[in-house]
Symmetry: C2
Subunit: 228 residues, 2 copies
């Protein structure tokens, strides 16, 4: 069935996640061409000869959202011979966490955010890739406070808890959550309050970006809270 040659096509596909309307959203693009015409797909593209895989993923992310300098990490490489119906394409999947406000609003109705837990029919193995990225985000959150990547620069603790809850897929106790994050390094309490909430304003916090490298090991979701 296959001609056992040595070359394949290699792409990067990027699962771009953000948070709004109390949902984790993934950016999808509706395909205009075969294969999988009219199905939705995560953004991707061929790896160029002069760039490494991280650079290819950054380029795709920048092209589709206009953002860079955000959390972007290699997830897994998918290489099933039949994942592409007409050619042999191996794809290195990345996942990115971006702030909804940073993304350029696109008027194209064929580029849209979808709830990661309520996906339309997807092209290729992209459903599997998105499922992997949900798991990867959760595992990443267990060792590193990546959830702040989804939040605005200034955020309330309620917003932060919501991000944790969406990624972990479970509700957290408000008092225990605040106790844990308030004693963690890197979180800075501001003397500002959210103005746009309709009820009691909430204190705003921000992250000390300079110390983010040292945060590995902090903000750990406990073993018991792990979704195994």
């Amino acid at each position: 069935m296959f001609n056992e040659t040595r070359t394949h096509e290699i792409t990067v596909d990027t699962v771009i996640l953000t948070m709004f309307d109390d949902e984790l959203k993934v950016l999808l693009i509706k395909r205009h061409n075969e294969p999988f015409k009219d199905k939705w797909a995560i953004p991707g593209g061929y790896v160029r000869m002069s760039e490494n895989l991280d650079q290819a993923a950054e380029r795709v992310l920048k092209e589709k959202t206009g953002v860079d300098n955000v959390f972007l990490e290699q997830l897994y490489t998918f290489g099933d011979p039949l994942r592409h119906p007409t050619s042999r394409v191996i794809t290195c999947a990345y996942f990115a966490l971006v702030r909804a406000n940073d993304v350029q609003v696109f008027s194209d109705p064929d580029v849209a955010w979808h709830n990661v837990n309520d996906l339309p029919p997807l092209a290729f193995d992209h459903k599997q890739i998105i499922e992997y990225s949900k798991k990867g985000t959760r595992e990443r959150l267990e060792v590193c406070p990546v959830a702040y990547q989804l939040l605005n620069e200034k955020f309330t603790l309620t917003e932060m808890q919501k991000a944790y809850e969406l990624i972990m897929g479970k509700q957290l106790d408000k008092r225990n959550f605040r106790k844990k994050v308030l004693c963690a390094e890197g979180l800075i309490e501001l003397n500002e309050f959210s103005k746009f909430t309709s009820k009691r304003p909430a204190r705003l916090y921000t992250f000390d970006k300079i110390n983010l490298d040292s945060l590995r090991g902090h903000f750990i979701m406990s073993n018991k809270e792990k979704v195994c």
Copy 2:
């Protein structure tokens, strides 16, 4: 510098780890051809058109060690344009844990086990790949008792602790270690004792393979013991 075409060569490279002489060992092959002639390299090969990446890694492992049905997991994909000096080769790296006794003894002096912490000059980016695999093995051990993959079918708790210590890169307390593993699921106490030790014989244990799938989440090294 580069012709931005769409095809690259893709290989799998496999970090094969085992344990003997109280050391974690990695299987290396001395290269006979350029590039990197006479440097050591981890076993690898081109991905065939008809196989997926897991199958390619299994094939390479089987060819080099004669073993299959062992722990073998995708690690990371390395795609720096300059990682291969003369062509554009993207490699999907895997890591495997095997029992030293299961591996066919090879008489070829250019195939040898090396201490992972004392490596000879390596070809390509293989030093980086091996470092990644040490980290990957440690992280895997934190959520799953993969260390048993390095042990014989019947093993003593001292041997098991040694495997944990080598992977974690630190010494563990004997009493706390035994307390933790003895109350974990899947470990079966045998009425047999090691005969080849020169002093007091140690009780042998084995793993309940049937229940291994349910072991995720057990045998967790605590957060405090994590090497971050």
